[in-house]
């Protein structure tokens, strides 16, 4: 032990310059490091401090490692000017490079994590994906750091890089839709084009309120109550209409019903006007309703003016065009009940017969057959909570549904007013709009024309 100390002392007395100079250089680099850090952080603070809220994170994370890097630099220079043999210098360089790569990797990871947290904390839709993003960044930086370390120690990295590239390529191809959706999700998040609560309409015709927006897809509650999951890439690439925030919610949603009908023979027939007038007194309401309304649906494309069957039969079969015209000109919209309508039709015929008692009889096989409509009423899956939803549903429902709410509810179900007007007044408290729909004479339109007219009236109101 004494010998070893003596030998070391002797070596130092002969080579003190080779020890002191590197030591001084090392310490000097440390001092320079302290000085550079001070200047650099001051400048950085001045440049970014007021503008970017992440600047404090950068300072906080890099402050200590900054000095470590100068220490590593100092050690490197000191070793290069020292009397260490070349093998020792190479080993020392590798150790120092490894320390540098390790610390730099750690700093980049910490910095990225903090900055991602800073931004995801501000955008609610990104919070659910925060862990995924952080893990992807951590892994990517760690892999790059590891590859550099391997390179420093002379390990063959080319096959690894190739393997990694292949894995990334395969993953990119396999998850290209996912990646496209993630990218689109990012675009949506950036632009804030679609937000939870917006009412949107897709190219496919589907529409509804947005209930959630994630990185990969957007959820929409469709008008029939179903949830539609739309990949974000479709939203970004396709044309969508965003109607924005919901309108005033109704106190009770409007459930669309539909009415399908079946024709049933009553077995009653009439060959002349007298028989027709007598039968009119007896037949059920559903017979009167059928003969004054079926033309609307069966021939709605031909004419907006529905001819009732009584008028048609009297004109075409009995050849009495005067009475036919009188009956055809009865405005059904003037009547609030089938009984009142029945009395009017019967009254017109009876009055006519009293003035012109001559009776014509229909040819054999051309008698008037009294048919009744058996209505089957059932709820559809469509529900509207506000006027926007109401309009969009109205575009989609069948003409059977439209007929039910406009014609059948008013007359056959004896409500006196159509269902739409009732709901708008009672549940949306919009008397003005309700009145417009209540006074709209639906018998003046084809069914498709009626649908567009109601939509136009409501859309005007929404705007």
């Amino acid at each position: 032990m004494v010998d070893w100390l003596t030998d070391s002392w002797l070596w130092l007395t002969h080579n003190w310059l080779h020890v002191v100079v590197p030591l001084v250089v090392f310490l000097a680099t440390y001092v320079v490091g302290l000085w550079v850090r001070r200047i650099a952080y001051r400048a950085f603070n001045r440049w970014a401090g007021g503008k970017w809220e992440g600047s404090q994170i950068v300072i906080q994370i890099t402050r200590t490692p900054f000095i470590y890097w100068f220490l590593i630099l100092g050690a490197f220079i000191a070793i290069q000017i020292s009397k260490l043999d070349s093998a020792g210098k190479i080993l020392a360089d590798k150790i120092l490079a490894s320390l540098f790569v390790f610390s730099l990797t750690w700093v980049i990871v910490s910095l990225s994590v903090k900055i991602v947290k800073l931004y995801t904390g501000k955008v609610p839709r990104l919070q659910t994906s925060e862990n995924v993003i952080i893990n992807i960044i951590r892994t990517a930086i760690a892999v790059v750091g590891a590859l550099i370390l391997l390179d420093v120690w002379g390990a063959p990295t080319t096959p690894l890089i190739l393997l990694l590239a292949a894995v990334i390529l395969i993953a990119a191809l396999s998850f290209r839709d996912l990646l496209a959706n993630l990218y689109s999700g990012f675009q949506l998040a950036q632009g804030e084009q679609i937000k939870v609560g917006d009412f949107i309409k897709l190219e496919s015709g589907d529409s509804g309120y947005v209930t959630d927006v994630t990185w990969s897809n957007t959820r929409i509650r469709a008008l029939d109550g179903n949830l539609i999951l739309v990949p974000n890439s479709r939203l970004v690439q396709g044309t969508i209409i965003n109607y924005g925030r919901p309108l005033k919610k109704a106190t009770r949603p409007f459930r669309f019903y539909t009415r399908l009908y079946l024709k049933e023979l009553t077995g009653l027939t009439a060959s002349n006007l007298g028989e027709l007038a007598n039968m009119l007194k007896e037949v059920p309401d559903s017979v009167i309703y059928y003969h004054t309304h079926h033309f609307l649906e069966e021939h709605h494309y031909l004419t907006p003016e529905p001819a009732n069957d009584f008028a048609l039969w009297i004109s075409d079969e009995l050849g009495d065009e005067v009475l036919g015209e009188k009956l055809a000109s009865i405005n059904i919209f003037d009547f609030l009940s089938i009984d009142a309508l029945r009395s009017r039709i019967e009254g017109v015929i009876t009055d006519y017969l009293s003035k012109k008692p001559e009776e014509r009889t229909a040819r054999e096989g051309r008698e008037f057959h009294f048919i009744k409509s058996v209505s089957f009423i059932m709820p559809t899956s469509y529900v509207a909570h506000d006027l926007r939803e109401f309009v969009e549903v109205l575009r989609q429902v069948s003409i059977d549904s439209l007929s039910y709410h406009i014609f059948e509810a008013r007359l056959k179900l004896k409500k006196g007013v159509n269902d739409f007007a009732i709901w708008i007044e009672e549940c949306l408290d919009d008397k003005d709009l309700a009145e417009k729909l209540a006074y709209l004479d639906p018998y003046n339109y084809t069914l498709e024309g009626l649908r567009s007219t109601i939509i136009q009236v409501i859309e005007k109101r929404i705007k």
Binding site: L260, L262, H369, V374
Partner: protein
């Protein structure tokens, strides 16, 4: 089971969405859901030939796709039995037929044989046309709901035949007719349901011009010469000789050609006889083409209809006359007799022209051939009319409603 056919669906229900709209299909699905666990047993006399089997061929698979367990059976008959039922058919249309007591006895005997051989497993048993009408005898043993579908016009029937059939019909829960003036006074409920066409079937789907031209070439028809076409079985009630007569009147002034194309059915032995008469009548006239096409020639029929300038249907008596709806669906102007269910399809001067005589048919043909714009407008209206009233989806809806109606007596039913 013997005499039961399992059909593969040619079209998916979803394929009808572009034609009839999503909401109509949704309504169908809602109705079909009411039949969960129930079996609808459909019985008629043939799987092939004629309008009834054509409808069932498309309807049964669609019912199955909707989730309704519908199964199709046919009765077994034999040539003699079908000769008798053909006579019944003509007699129900009001034609004079010699029907002996042996004929009635044969009908009853075949009915009894079928009653012994067939299984009756349906919750709803849906019998089509007069041939299997006697199967109702099984109702007293098994109960269930029984429906009789009459596809023909029985407004002016032979009294003896009607009385015989009526004794069976009155035991059904309900009868179904295609038009109000087809029906007879009956003590049971009577529904009105029109038959239909399938817009996606080979007979009605869109065809490219190459296919149409190849069919025209096959039958040596001239593509640039206006073509008048009647598609129907070679049956006297379709008046093919009257059509030839009307064509000859038109041909005097307008260069055109006539095609009479028809098939045969296993339950109609008279077809061959009428076919020979028609061939004889057309002999020597190169503008008249008589084509006997087998039942599986739907694409060819479709092509002939699409190539036609005018479709004619000059029936003397008609059930419903689905060839009219087929023509209208292809936006073709139609000249047709005002018989049977034709006036329901052809609103005179709106969706086609109606006629009553050979002269009237010739006059209407000339009007349309001379005024292509008018003819085109009638054709367009006709397509809308069929879309609204005579497509298979609407037909399905009506059948499902009728099955439901059997359990209700009210005029307003909440489902």
């Amino acid at each position: 089971m013997q005499n039961e056919i399992h059909l593969q669906s040619k079209s998916r229900l979803k394929d009808y969405e572009p034609v009839v709209g999503r909401s109509s299909l949704e309504e169908l699905k809602m109705l079909a859901a009411k039949f969960s666990g129930k079996i609808v047993q459909i019985i008629n006399s043939t799987f092939v030939g004629g309008g009834v089997s054509e409808i069932l061929e498309h309807m049964v698979p669609l019912l199955n796709q909707l989730g309704v367990d519908a199964r199709w059976n046919v009765i077994s008959g034999g040539e003699e039995f079908f000769e008798v039922t053909k006579k019944f058919h003509n007699a129900l249309h009001g034609n004079r037929e010699k029907i002996s007591s042996q004929d009635f006895a044969l009908f009853s005997e075949v009915t009894q044989r079928n009653l012994n051989e067939m299984s009756f497993y349906g919750d709803i048993i849906f019998i089509h046309d007069p041939q299997p009408v006697g199967l109702i005898a099984q109702k007293k043993n098994i109960g269930k709901k029984w429906l009789w579908r009459c596809h023909i016009d029985v407004s002016n029937p032979d009294k003896k035949v009607w009385k015989f059939l009526r004794s069976f019909i009155v035991d059904y829960d309900a009868a179904v007719f295609s038009a109000p003036n087809f029906a007879q006074h009956l003590p049971i409920r009577q529904f009105l349901i029109t038959p239909s066409i399938d817009p996606l079937s080979d007979k009605n789907k869109e065809l490219d011009s190459g296919t149409i031209n190849s069919v025209l070439a096959k039958y040596s028809l001239i593509s640039n010469k206006p073509m008048i076409v009647q598609i129907s079985r070679f049956d006297r009630l379709k008046d093919p000789l009257g059509v030839i007569e009307a064509f000859k009147m038109v041909r005097k002034g307008i260069d055109c050609q006539l095609v009479l194309a028809g098939g045969t059915a296993t339950d109609d032995p008279e077809c061959t006889e009428v076919y020979s008469e028609v061939k004889k009548q057309a002999e020597g006239n190169t503008d008249i083409h008589i084509l006997l096409v087998p039942p599986e020639s739907d694409i060819e029929i479709n092509a002939l209809q699409r190539a036609a300038a005018i479709i004619i249907q000059k029936s003397l008596k008609e059930g419903f006359g689905l060839t009219i709806s087929e023509a209208l669906w292809k936006s073709k102007p139609v000249v047709a007799s005002a018989v049977g269910g034709i006036p329901l399809q052809v609103k005179n001067k709106f969706t086609g022209l109606l006629c009553y005589t050979v002269e009237g048919a010739a006059y209407a043909l000339k009007q349309l051939l001379s005024n292509p714009e008018y003819a085109n407008r009638l054709g367009q209206n006709g397509r809308e009319h069929v879309k609204q009233n005579f497509l298979i989806t609407g037909h399905l809806k009506n059948y499902l409603l009728m099955f439901l109606a059997l359990d209700h007596n009210s005029d307003v039913i909440y489902l």
